[in-house]
Symmetry: C2
Subunit: 350 residues, 2 copies
């Protein structure tokens, strides 16, 4: 009986695929692997999808043929049949390029590891009908999931509506707890420690500069809370002195003391203003930033700042999302928080 079966199969092989050795330029399909390994295409499918119900022997045997034939599953066919696209959308709105770059590489690496590709969707958070546009984009591109990042002032509403249409995992600066799947950094803890750092240096008064109201308003606020709490905690006064400067023609009243800027770009702006006003940093006033962007290290003097583990966060978000899409995780609510680090730079000190 067994012999008969094998013979039967060998005939099949010679019918369909003995020519394959001479068709070297054509890509191997699941059919080729199946006929060479003398199993059905379904069994091959089971192996490449790591499904249950294939014996160890068959499996290891198949892996040999898969390798030998240089077989790669056709994504289009897989997608067509299984209604997946293996595409994940990364949504962002003009963030700091370095931030974006880290986010991207984190998402990218994880997606690649899992056989997914990343489609980028830059957009303006102030755009009308952004929710509709995002949904339309997700549908048109047939995305399996979406990773929204900064910065959408009205993100809560947006995220809520998007969730109804497509799986999401949000990468959020500061703490956001309203989303089922979410990765965030603990800005509160970070600004709190930074404030401690300033207080340890003997400062009794701390100024804070918010970023532009259209960008990262949420983060700024959360960051401020961290300082404020520490300030209240220790009976330190918030900064009250000020001088005036401007950025792109817009006058800004700058509270001084030691200054805590809500991001490094703002810190660089303060430095520029200080240079003009002949105020020496760090000897006349202290200045710290947030983000650990290259600006902070390239400036003179270089700026003490806070570094978020952005890439790790992004990578984690992608993994959570993919697990969710693939039903590998049963949890419906995952909220992962990462801690940030203070990067102390002292090259300008007396």
């Amino acid at each position: 009986m067994i012999i008969k079966k094998i013979l039967l199969k060998r005939v099949l092989v010679s019918d369909n695929s003995c020519m394959i050795l001479s068709m070297e330029n054509k890509k191997a399909t699941i059919k080729d692997v199946a006929s060479h390994s003398l199993v059905s295409i379904k069994t091959v499918s089971r192996v490449i999808n790591n499904e249950y119900g294939v014996s160890k022997i068959t499996k290891s045997n198949l892996f040999i043929f898969i390798k030998a034939l240089d077989y790669n599953p056709n994504k289009a066919a897989q997608g067509l049949r299984s209604k997946k696209s293996f595409l994940i959308g990364l949504v962002y709105d003009n963030p700091d390029k370095f931030y974006l770059s880290d986010i991207q590489s984190g998402v990218l690496e994880t997606c690649a590891k899992n056989g997914f590709s990343v489609v980028l969707f830059p957009c303006n958070h102030k755009e009308k009908d952004l929710t509709e546009k995002l949904i339309e984009f997700a549908k048109r591109t047939n995305l399996d999931g979406l990773i929204p990042t900064i910065s959408h002032t009205d993100m809560k509403e947006l995220v809520k509506n998007l969730q109804l249409e497509i799986p999401l995992c949000v990468v959020s600066p500061g703490l956001l707890t309203s989303n089922p799947l979410c990765v965030s950094s603990d800005d509160f803890k970070a600004t709190y420690s930074m404030t401690c750092h300033l207080i340890k240096q003997g400062h009794k008064e701390i100024g804070f500069i918010k970023g532009h109201k259209d960008h990262g308003a949420i983060e700024s606020d959360l960051r401020k809370v961290g300082i404020r709490t520490k300030i209240d905690d220790r009976n330190i006064r918030p900064g009250t002195k000020h001088y005036d400067w401007e950025i792109k023609g817009v006058p800004i009243r700058l509270e001084i003391g030691p200054i805590f800027a809500s991001n490094d770009a703002m810190a660089a702006g303060v430095m520029k203003a200080a240079h003009k006003a002949k105020i020496n940093i760090p000897n006349d006033i202290s200045l710290v930033g947030f983000d650990n962007s290259p600006t902070a290290s390239q400036a003179w003097p270089s700026i003490t700042t806070i570094a978020q583990p952005i890439k790790e966060m992004a990578s984690s978000a992608a993994q959570i999302l993919i697990d969710n899409i693939s039903n590998k995780s049963e949890k419906k609510n995952i909220n992962k928080t990462f801690d940030s680090d203070i990067v102390v730079r002292i090259d300008g000190q007396k």
Copy 2:
């Protein structure tokens, strides 16, 4: 006869798709559009692919149904049948993040316009077997085309081998003429004009700083040629004075005069060194950079620099590649060159 036909079709409609109005949550397929519009699916296919052989009336009628049913062709099915993936790979090796960001958005916009998605492939140009890895990546992801950007020192060899496997359009700083499809910026012209700018300010001696040898060596060299030519042209000496500074612990001998840095990051480094050495910029020495990165505008004083139309270049490259893939252009060799602009900043001058 005509009546008979229509009746027949109406029956078909009620068989297959009158329910569609109540199946609102399901995506419309080409079949739905066909049955609603009383034409064959092939005709719908002709319309969405802008093929020859459909009357204007049928066409405009179809568009109405396509819109009404919110029909979007299924990329997986299209790809499976037509052996296309509608994916374009963007290859880059750790460039300046701002450069990357511009490249990306240019490629992205154009691809989106043409119904293509972008897959990112960050890589290390020094990696062994990079060519093989790229080919493997292109095959595995089933890419339709590839856009290699900076920076691959041995790019010529790489590009030559890649071309045999997959359509390419190279985005190159400086002039590269060896590739069939190529978009480049004229760095020579730009550095030449910048040198003219410095000479016009009365300088007789010009120093040049190359970037790190692993990054953008090609660009640096090409940029240098631009200066050098102008220098020779006008009997200006290259810089000979110097002082020593260091970057990340590595001592660097800095030629001074006015200084032309091969990129803005290098210019920022020079400024830092100058600050330490109590040399005033721009009053003691002039300093210009290259790239127009935010560093150049955020620094104090802000740095005069050269801006390449990066995004336009990237966008153009994507379009050329897509046209080539789609056989829309018959030209086999396209080499498009863009001019760069000088961005003069003077806020630090006496």
